[in-house]
């Protein structure tokens, strides 16, 4: 792919190697058709990989390289989200929309840029997470200004701001059936919001529960996932499974590192974080397997929704691990 960098200085080959050595992948998103993967890194770049090429029987080393790399934002790209036609990327206080059709054609031209007006006097806060609520066709954005912003996807206008957290938002999750939004933040609280009224219905401070809390790591909530009745949350406190109606923890998973992303998959729970391994857990609280991965710390986990089930993991490395079978790493894509 072509490498378009924003910095004016031409980098020598050793400098390129240095930058690869210090690259971290923070976000991933599959294309609507499921054949392409977009990944965002700490240099503000987005790379598009062709998974169909990398998975085909005559794949070579070149097919594990991106088909397109471009600089999307000034700061790191902490969040990527795909609608059915566009890829949304989050930079410092701004969201850009890129057409998937154009990206697949190797054209990295911005379709739309939305300023989320988070700016303070000295710096622009980051956007850590974006989620779509298909029911009311809106986009929820959470980031460094401690608030959650709701944007209407049709008009592109920010309808409301959900305020309540006292520190920056790490993660969001949507409960479609009930029309609720879950948010986890650095202040250690998980809040449940009613998306119509915009008010915080519940607030759970996870670190106050003895079974989950790990004071040596902190109280921050790094990951959230919900299955309507259940909620997974983890971070400083241990990864734990909560029953939402009773708002109590049912299982606590004995995983050592702080988890940064978790997901429900069929009857399993998958989570990644510090420690560099993909954890397979059962709903009962048992850790079934821990599969080692290339990056020593993992930031993002993404599952493909189409027939060819593929799991990709990114973290503190320029390599993205690809799993075709959840039990072992098949190969790695590299930036």
């Amino acid at each position: 792919g072509s490498r378009v960098r924003l910095c004016v200085v031409k980098m020598g080959p050793v400098e390129v190697q240095f930058s690869l050595l210090h690259m971290s992948v923070y976000s991933q998103s599959f294309s609507p058709c499921g054949r392409f993967l977009a990944a965002g890194n700490n240099y503000g770049e987005i790379s598009v990989f062709s998974l169909s090429a990398a998975l085909s029987p005559d794949a070579s080393e070149a097919s594990q390289k991106p088909i397109l790399t471009f600089t999307a934002h000034d700061g790191p790209v902490f969040s990527l989200l795909s609608t059915d036609s566009h890829l949304l990327s989050a930079g410092n206080g701004e969201i850009s929309a890129w057409s998937w059709v154009e990206l697949i054609k190797r054209v990295g031209v911005e379709h739309l840029k939305i300023d989320v007006s988070l700016r303070t006097s000295l710096e622009i806060p980051e956007i850590n997470t974006m989620v779509l609520s298909l029911k009311d066709n809106s986009l929820f954005v959470g980031g460094g200004d401690n608030n959650i912003h709701m944007m209407d996807l049709e008009t592109g206008v920010f309808k409301s701001t959900l305020q309540g957290h006292s520190d920056y938002i790490h993660c969001l999750a949507v409960r479609e059936r009930e029309g609720e939004l879950l948010s986890g933040a650095e202040d250690g609280a998980v809040r449940i919001w009613d998306s119509r009224t915009g008010r915080s219905v519940h607030c759970v401070e996870i670190y106050k529960y003895e079974e989950c809390s790990r004071p040596q790591f902190g109280k921050w909530i790094g990951c959230l996932a919900t299955d309507s009745d259940w909620m997974l949350c983890g971070g400083g406190p241990s990864l734990s499974l909560w029953h939402l109606r009773s708002l109590s923890p049912t299982s606590v998973f004995p995983i050592l590192g702080c988890q940064r992303q978790a997901a429900f998959y069929q009857d399993l729970i998958l989570s990644v974080g510090e420690g560099g391994s993909l954890n397979h857990c059962l709903l009962s609280g048992e850790v079934k397997a821990q599969i080692p991965c290339t990056p020593p710390c993992l930031n993002t986990l993404a599952l493909n929704g189409t027939e060819q089930r593929v799991l990709t993991l990114g973290g503190s490395s320029d390599q993205i691990d690809v799993f075709t079978n959840l039990s072992y790493r098949a190969f790695s894509l590299s930036f």
């Binding site: 050793v14 240095f18 000295l122 980051e126 850590n128 920056y168 921050w220 710390c297 503190s316």
Partner: protein
């Protein structure tokens, strides 16, 4: 008639015979037998007549044939005679034709016309009484006259040219004597002008002497001399070139007579063989062959590069005759006596000083691929064993001498002087840069060993006024020791640490926290950025692999060289990196939450640095970027 008679007879006989059995047997049997007798007699007579006639016919036939045969033979003979005559006629006709066509050479000679001939030629040649009648004699006479004329004129010309040649020879002799008388006069004038030259500082004498000796230099050294002198005169007043070595030996080498050389070498060989028979013959011969192969040309070039601060880099260039490559040895004369710094030992080591002047030019193997075959013959495994003796065969040295080998980049087809000229300026700049970078590093290392990070005035803005972490130790480590460190495995795997690099260990301390930094210093510093790998010992061990914040600190010093390199030529890079590490360590320790046993205990490191936020992003990175002049820390 006979045949008719025969025909008539036959049927009669048959009739008769046919008739007899039917016939009348009884009556005239006696008549019949008389008739038969008669007939028998007649038939015999007839038979005889037949035979006779037959014979006659045969004889007549034979006679006729013989006659025909004879006449035929006669005709043949005559025919042959006719043919012979015809051939002869044809032959003669051809000969006549040839004779008629014959052009004699004499017809090509332009002869004087007949009237002139008779008027000019003397009587004994022209002989008019004969020639006027006989055209053959006339032509002969005319030819004779022509010959006579030519002889006369040619003889004259020969005499005149001989005379002029002698005259000219005499003239040349005179002039030669005059010139030879001039020479001692000129030399005395030169001697007298020497003090004048020195006074005016125009060293013609020196240049001339050098030019004389230069004639005996091998071609690559000659190219180097010419190009270096040209470059020195044109752009670089601080470059000087000297030739050193044994001129007589060089003269002896260039003498063509190989027989004398062969005799010498033969006698040498015999002597050697005689002496060597007392020791092991095979090894000794191989050793000698090796020495012979690696022999240096007796003359060598010395180029001195003087730097602004007064230190001098001496480069000695040698030409290995049989291998057709140039090698270089170096020596550094620093401007002031360098006080010892333990870790700086390798910095100015003459063996490694010029390593990787151009990327990956290690100078450990000969760049001439043909040498491989030569080495195999005498059992030399690698050239690297002889480098300390013979010097380094760097590729840039070959280029400066105008030598180009196939393994070099094929982009340019230039060789010889053009190749040398193309690379002279950049190589000299790199050499000076290298020396100055190393001297700067040497000075900085002295400070570092005293636990002080020297930050120049121009770079003060990169750091806050108060930095509490300090450099506790600065040591040099070997490649082997480096590779065994656990926190550098990612560097080794990425192929960023080589044996030609220099390796150091810096230990930063604050309170109970110790940060170890393993540093890879590429010989091309400061064009190449030093690479840091960190490991923190504080309440447990963390490294850049396990802790995202330590990784971010590595990134701060490794990736942002444009911020850290300071003013050109970037000698501040290493020290600025160290100072930045100290600053980042401060931020790290002060923003780390100190929780143990569920209670927030007393902070070991009170928050002094001004930070807007202490955590940002999914991996909660600390603010390592210093903003000047506001003085606060923010995230990148």
């Amino acid at each position: 008639m006979a045949s008719e008679a025969l025909k008539k007879r036959k049927p009669k006989v048959i009739r008769n015979e046919g008739g007899t059995p039917e016939g009348k047997r009884g009556r005239g049997e006696g008549e019949q037998s008389v008739e038969i007798e008669e007939r028998r007699r007649q038939s015999c007579v007839h038979f005889m007549m037949l035979k006779k006639l037959n014979r006659l016919a045969h004889m007549r036939l034979k006679r006729g044939r013989d006659q025909t045969h004879e006449t035929k033979q006669k005709v043949d003979v005559l025919h042959l005679q006719l043919q012979n005559l015809l051939y002869e006629v044809m032959h003669l006709q051809k000969e006549i034709g040839k004779c008629l066509e014959f052009k004699s050479q004499h017809e090509e000679i332009e002869l004087v016309s007949t009237e002139d001939f008779f008027t000019e030629a003397p009587a004994e040649i022209s002989r008019p009484h004969i020639t006027k009648e006989d055209p053959h004699q006339l032509t002969l006479a005319r030819l004779d006259w022509e010959l006579e004329q030519r002889k006369r004129s040619l003889a004259q010309q020969y005499k005149t040219s001989l005379a002029s040649k002698e005259k000219i020879e005499k003239g040349i002799e005179v002039k030669k004597e005059y010139l030879s008388s001039l020479l001692p006069g000129l030399q005395s004038i030169m001697q007298a002008s020497l003090p004048l030259q020195e006074y005016l500082s125009m060293p013609f004498e020196h240049v001339q002497k050098q030019a004389e000796v230069a004639h005996h230099l091998p071609p690559p050294l000659y190219v180097l001399l010419v190009q270096a002198n040209a470059y020195g005169q044109a752009s670089d007043k601080n470059l000087s070139v000297f030739i050193s070595g044994d001129v007589d030996e060089a003269k002896a080498l260039s003498k063509p007579p190989e027989d004398s050389q062969d005799d010498e070498s033969d006698s040498d060989l015999e002597e050697e063989q005689n002496t060597k028979r007392r020791r092991a013959t095979l090894g000794g011969q191989l050793d000698d062959k090796r020495k012979e192969m690696l022999k240096r040309h007796p003359l060598s070039l010395c180029i001195d590069l003087k730097c602004k601060d007064g230190s001098v880099l001496h480069l000695f260039f040698y030409f290995l005759m049989n291998l057709n490559i140039l090698t270089v040895k170096t020596k550094v004369s620093p401007s002031s006596q360098l006080c010892g710094a333990v870790s700086a030992g390798e910095l100015l080591n003459p063996e490694t000083l010029l390593n990787c002047l151009y990327a990956s030019d290690h100078g450990r193997e000969t760049p001439n691929p043909a040498n491989r075959y030569q080495f195999d013959k005498v059992g030399i495994a690698t050239f690297a064993d002889y480098i300390s003796d013979l010097g380094h065969p760097y590729r840039w040295v070959q280029r400066l001498g105008g030598l180009q080998f196939p393994c070099d980049s094929p982009e340019s087809a230039v060789t010889g002087s053009a190749l040398s000229a193309n690379h002279m300026e950049s190589t000299m700049k790199l050499l000076r840069g290298r020396l100055q970078a190393r001297l700067a590093l040497h000075k900085q290392f002295i400070s570092l060993e005293h636990s002080m990070i020297p930050v120049s005035a121009e770079c003060q803005d990169l750091f806050p006024a108060k930095v509490l972490s300090r450099l506790a130790r600065w040591t040099t480590i070997t490649f082997q020791e480096f590779v065994e460190l656990p926190m550098v495995q990612h560097v080794v795997k990425a192929g960023l640490a080589h044996e030609t690099d220099l390796f150091f260990m810096a230990v930063l301390e604050r309170g109970t926290a110790r940060l170890q930094a393993a540093i890879v210093l590429n010989p091309r510093y400061p064009d190449a950025t030093p690479l840091y790998s960190l490991s923190l010992l504080w309440k447990g061990e963390r490294s850049g692999r396990t802790d995202d914040n330590l990784r971010a600190m590595e990134s701060e010093v490794n990736v942002f060289r444009m911020e850290l390199q300071g003013p050109r030529p970037g000698h501040q890079l290493l020290t600025n990196q160290l100072q930045r590490l100290c600053m980042c360590l401060d931020v790290y320790l002060e923003t780390e939450s100190q929780v143990c046993d569920g209670v927030e205990g007393p902070r070991e490191f009170p928050r002094e640095k001004m930070c807007l936020r202490t955590a940002r992003g999914p991996n909660r990175l600390k603010p390592f970027k210093y903003n000047h002049p506001q003085g606060f820390f923010s995230h990148r």
